[in-house]
C-alpha cells in the first residue's frame, strides 16, 4: 500500500491574515490552509533506470473539478502531454480562482511525492492546460490537482484528526488539527 502524507501549509501572513474576536472577546487568527503535494511529471521509469523527473509543487484542491496546469508550468514538459480534442463546437474556456482562461484538454502521467521523500506511482491524469498568459504584476497560479480524472482516482484520501500540534518528523510543521494522507488500495 504505497502512501504519501500531505502537509497543510498555512499561507496566512501579512495583509492576508483574517483576525476576529471570538465569543469570549479574545482575538484569534484564521489559518488559511493548503494541501501541498509535489508531483512528478511522466511515467515511472523502469527498474534500474535513472529517474530524472523533477518534483514540482502543486495544491490538492478537491473543490476543483479537474486538474489544471498553468502555462508557465506545463511549457517545460509540453512533450509529455497528449492533446485530446473537444467534440463539437465547445468553447475551451475554464475558470479557476475567479479567473476565466482558455485551455486545451490533455492527458499526462503524474506521480506524487511528499516532503518525507516518499512517492506514489504515476497515473494518467486528464487535465486542463491553460493557454492564457498571466499579466506581469499578477501572481502566477499554482498547479491545481482536481477531484476527477487525476491523482485521486482509485486512491484513498484520508483526513485524520489529531491534537498533536506539531509533526513528529518535522517539528516546525504544524498539524492544524489534521493529518492527511493519500494511499493506493
Amino acid at each position: 500500500m504505497p502512501v504519501i502524507r500531505i502537509p497543510t501549509d498555512n499561507v496566512a501572513e501579512g495583509d492576508r491574515l483574517i483576525r476576529y474576536q471570538d465569543e469570549q472577546g479574545r482575538e484569534r487568527t484564521v489559518p488559511l490552509l493548503r494541501l501541498q503535494v509535489n508531483v512528478l511529471i511522466g511515467r515511472d521509469p523502469t527498474r534500474g533506470s535513472p529517474d530524472e523527473r523533477k518534483p514540482r509543487r502543486a495544491i490538492l484542491d478537491t473543490g476543483a473539478p479537474l486538474t489544471v496546469f498553468p502555462k508557465h508550468r506545463w511549457q517545460s514538459f509540453a512533450d509529455e502531454i497528449v492533446r485530446l480534442p473537444l467534440v463539437g463546437d465547445q468553447n475551451p474556456i475554464g475558470r479557476a480562482g475567479g479567473r476565466q482562461f482558455s485551455y486545451f484538454l490533455g492527458r499526462v502521467w503524474v506521480g506524487a511525492v511528499d516532503p518525507f521523500e516518499r512517492r506514489l506511482p504515476a497515473v494518467p491524469v486528464l487535465a486542463q492546460f491553460r493557454e492564457d498568459d498571466i499579466p506581469a504584476g499578477e501572481p502566477l497560479p499554482p498547479i491545481l490537482l482536481g477531484l476527477w480524472g487525476g491523482i485521486l482516482e482509485g486512491r484513498t484520501l484520508t483526513r485524520w484528526p489529531t491534537v498533536e500540534r506539531y509533526d513528529p518528523d518535522m517539528p516546525t510543521l504544524e498539524s492544524f488539527g489534521q493529518w492527511w494522507h493519500l494511499s493506493d488500495p
Binding site: 530524472e52 516532503p115 501572481p139 502566477l140 491534537v163
Partner: protein, 170 residues
C-alpha cells in the same frame, strides 16, 4: 471525547494555541519574532516541548493498554508517522524517491521553511530557483530560471528546485 489527562509531572510549558493571539503576546506574535530571530532554537524548543508531552502520554498508554487504544483513536498519541504506525500504514510498503529527487525535495522543504518564516514574502506569486538551500533566482519564467541556475552551479536541470511562492489568494 478525547481522554482528559493530567499534564506530565515534569515542568513543561504548554505550547500556544494555534491562532491564539493572547498566547503569543500580541498580534504578529512574540512566537513569530522568536522564529525570525532564532529559527533553529525556536524549532528545537517546540520539538522538545512537544516530545515531553508525547512521552508522558505514551508512558500512560503503555501502562494501560485500554487507555492507550483510546488515546490513539482520539489522535492524542501516535508513533512517528514515517517510522510506521499500526493505525496508519506498513512502512515496508513505502516507495522512496530517487537520490536527485531527494535533494530537490530537501530544497523545496527549505523553501517552505523560508516561506513560513516570511522570508519569501517579497516573492509572492513568483517562482524561486533553489539549489543546495541557496536562492539562485526569482522570476516568472521557469525555463530561464533553470538555465540560469544550471549556468551558476553546473547541476543538471532536473536538480534545480523551482519553488512557486503562494500568493495567499483563495
Amino acid at each position: 471525547m478525547p481522554e482528559q489527562l493530567e499534564p506530565p509531572a515534569t515542568e513543561v510549558a504548554a505550547p500556544p494555541v494555534a491562532g491564539d493571539v493572547a498566547a503569543t503576546g500580541a498580534t504578529g506574535g512574540s512566537v513569530r519574532e522568536l522564529v525570525d530571530r532564532a529559527p533553529e532554537e525556536a524549532g528545537e524548543a517546540v520539538a522538545a516541548n512537544e516530545k515531553a508531552w508525547q512521552a508522558a502520554l505514551r508512558a500512560k498508554a503503555n501502562a494501560e493498554p485500554a487507555l492507550g487504544k483510546r488515546l490513539k483513536a482520539a489522535g492524542l498519541i501516535g508513533t512517528p508517522i514515517s517510522s510506521g504506525s499500526d493505525f496508519l500504514w506498513d512502512p515496508d510498503d513505502v516507495l522512496e524517491v530517487g537520490p536527485v529527487q531527494k535533494e530537490v525535495i530537501r530544497d523545496l522543504n527549505w523553501g517552505q521553511e523560508q516561506f513560513a518564516r516570511g522570508a519569501f514574502d517579497a516573492y509572492r506569486g513568483q517562482l524561486v530557483a533553489i539549489v543546495n538551500k541557496t536562492v539562485l533566482g526569482v522570476g516568472r519564467d521557469e525555463g530561464q530560471l533553470v538555465a540560469e541556475a544550471v549556468a551558476k552551479t553546473g547541476v543538471a536541470p532536473h536538480r534545480v528546485a523551482i519553488f512557486d511562492v503562494d500568493s495567499g489568494e483563495f
